[in-house]
């Protein structure tokens, strides 16, 4: 696993001539997370289930939730999909069928209330995004409320990590007040961060009306560092993730990459274990994605021997996702998961 000093050195070096000034250049003393954010348990469970957009996704998602032993009865559940941008020829966003199926599965399992919330990172025009991504129609069909996190009521929240110099962020009341927060990302490579999965998806909770479009303050503070600080800060919340890995994005993600079919959904309550599994489904070594590796030190489990793998075997579904040149070193050989 990457140690803390190596993480800091890697990030400082990789960002010297990039869009990410402001990264930590000095080796800090002590952990960069609050003790209360150290929630890694001895073991974690993740399920990988096959699925397709035109199949019975509600059943698959219900099975995944049950496999993970998640009890949603009576809970106010906030679903956070990813719809950062729209390209009619691209596969940028969480598919509306996954959003639809998740809503129905949660209701079938007795959730008290389900709302969908997102704060799109590039476009202010939410009405356009809801219409064109199809997610608006999934919400209408299921009579589900949408919360625009870019314009939600906020609370200033002290960060539980100090990877960035930010100290605090305004965060949406909808997120902070959730009984259960479900990250619903797309499986994608990312040209600045390596991969974008359940943890990177949390950028979307940071309100654009405070921090802009794009949420540039997070870029200046360091994308990878911001992912760690935000996810550390969400540790008091009960969290779960369902990754849309039915069709992912490879190459120049998260916006301009190419579609790559995996045909799977990933389920789990440990965001690090879920993201590590997502990496392995792309033949990417999670220990070489620096923020995932760093999160593995306190937020959750990265190593295969600490993850109880349920459902399908990773090696049966994994695809050799291409990455851009900067991330060539994160690729892992096929069939190393031992699943």
């Amino acid at each position: 696993m990457t140690d803390r000093r190596a993480f800091v050195r890697t990030v400082a070096g990789a960002t010297a001539a990039s869009m990410l000034p402001g990264c930590k250049q000095q080796e800090p003393e002590g952990p960069l997370w609050e003790a209360s954010a150290a929630v890694r348990s001895p073991r974690s469970s993740v399920a990988v289930l096959s699925g397709s957009y035109d199949g019975e996704l509600e059943d698959v998602i219900r099975r995944g939730i049950e496999l993970m032993g998640l009890d949603v009865r009576g809970l106010r559940v906030v679903l956070k999909p990813n719809f950062v941008e729209f390209d009619p020829d691209g596969v940028i966003n969480t598919h509306p069928a996954v959003v639809h199926g998740t809503i129905e599965a949660l209701r079938g399992l007795g959730a008290g209330e389900v709302v969908v919330a997102e704060g799109a990172g590039h476009r202010r025009d939410n009405e356009y995004l809801l219409r064109e991504t199809g997610i608006g129609y999934a919400l209408r069909d299921t009579r589900t409320q949408f919360i625009d996190l870019n314009h939600d009521t906020v609370h200033r929240t002290v960060l539980k990590g100090s990877y960035t110099p930010l100290g605090s962020l305004y965060l949406p009341a909808t997120i902070l007040g959730a009984d259960l927060l479900i990250s619903l990302p797309k499986l994608k490579t990312h040209h600045w961060a390596g991969v974008t999965l359940s943890m990177k998806n949390m950028f979307g909770i940071v309100p654009g009306s405070h921090y802009g479009w794009p949420k540039n303050v997070l870029h200046w503070a360091g994308i990878k560092e911001s992912i760690l600080d935000i996810n550390a800060t969400l540790t008091p919340l009960r969290r779960f993730a369902i990754v849309d890995a039915i069709v992912g994005m490879e190459g120049n993600g998260p916006i301009q990459g190419e579609a790559r079919t995996v045909g799977a959904l990933i389920f789990g309550a440990d965001p690090v274990a879920v993201d590590a599994t997502g990496c392995r489904l792309m033949h990417i070594d999670p220990s070489r994605i620096d923020y995932v590796a760093e999160a593995g030190r306190f937020l959750g489990n990265l190593e295969l021997d600490r993850i109880d793998q349920r459902g399908e075997a990773i090696d049966d579904l994994a695809q050799d996702f291409s990455v851009i040149g900067n991330f060539a070193s994160v690729k892992q050989a096929a069939e190393v998961t031992g699943s």
Binding site: E127, Y128, R156
Partner: protein, 305 residues
């Protein structure tokens, strides 16, 4: 269309909070941006009571620095100063507030890269990850961040709406740098997105709402070929965009350039008469302007003509 305006005005009025301000959606706390747009639109519609309450909210929430905050929950100076200025520049009694707000806005500049990075951009432009003129600094969303298209366009438009004799001489140079930044960030083929036109070897595509705002900010540069190219790009985008924000800003922009926008106005009207998706107070206010021919909230005050 009057029927749509009546319906929209009623819906907008219903978003007025007990404190006199407006939130971005129903049941949301008042924010400066939403209140500013509601004041403009309701004032234009002759709804004097809610418009005046919105103006009072704005005047009460101006910070000692001259800036406006996002909201009571987030009391720091913010980019929302621009829409507040745009709104209050039409209110003679707000003259002092406008002067103080304008001075604050003129004191704000987006952050630039460190010197070494800027040097890299100059010496090896073929090797950079994001193609842009790294020396240009206009307006950012937040203090200490990079300059982007919308805050730059909005700052230019709001400062232009203020009587120019009230502004310091630095206004001219800031406006010119804003123009240069917008032209530098234009997407291939015309138009603007949030502010990156090319990243890691790939062109990015423009958006209609940010394009319309940038064009309005560049309206003094009608002879600039990139402006003409972007007007064409805007009409192409509007042909395929069904949203009240994009269509309303598109109509306002095209009419400011004396281009017929009737077909887009008709589509906007139709959009408000079907089962749509919930949208922001800002989009509602802009729609009210767009549905009335030649009403332009960004038009400079008479004394600037």
């Amino acid at each position: 269309m009057p029927a749509t305006n009546d319906k929209l005005t009623l819906a907008l009025r219903s978003r007025c909070n007990a404190d006199g301000g407006f939130g971005p959606y129903s049941d949301r706390s008042s924010t400066t941006e939403s209140t500013a747009w509601a004041a403009l639109a309701l004032g234009m519609e002759g709804e004097s009571e809610p418009a005046e309450s919105a103006i009072d909210w704005l005047l009460q929430h101006q910070l000692p620095s001259g800036a406006w905050p996002h909201s009571e929950a987030a009391p720091e100076a913010s980019w929302m100063t621009s829409p507040a200025l745009l709104s209050l520049s039409k209110v003679p009694a707000a003259r002092d507030a406008v002067i103080r707000g304008s001075r604050w806005l003129l004191s704000q500049r987006g952050q630039s890269f460190p010197f070494v990075t800027r040097l890299y951009y100059r010496l090896w432009p073929e090797k950079v990850q994001v193609r842009l003129d790294a020396d240009l600094r206009a307006w950012a969303w937040t203090a200490g961040a990079f300059s982007w298209c919308e805050p730059t366009s909005m700052a230019m438009l709001s400062l232009r709406s203020v009587e120019q004799q009230l502004l310091p001489r630095s206004m001219r140079s800031r406006h010119l740098e804003g123009e240069r930044l917008l032209l530098d960030r234009m997407c291939e083929g015309g138009g603007w997105n949030y502010g990156n036109s090319w990243v890691l070897g790939e062109n990015l595509w423009p958006y209609p709402d940010t394009t319309a705002l940038a064009l309005l900010a560049l309206s003094a540069r009608r002879d600039e070929p990139r402006v003409a190219e972007s007007l064409d790009a805007l009409t192409r985008m509007l042909d395929t965009h069904e949203s009240s924000l994009s269509l309303s800003l598109g109509v306002i922009c095209l009419e400011a350039f004396a281009i017929d926008a009737m077909s887009y106005r008709d589509r906007l009207d139709a959009l408000w008469n079907e089962e749509g998706f919930d949208t922001t107070t800002r989009a509602m206010a802009l729609s009210l302007f767009a549905l009335r021919q030649d009403e332009n909230p960004f038009r400079p005050s008479q004394t600037n003509d």
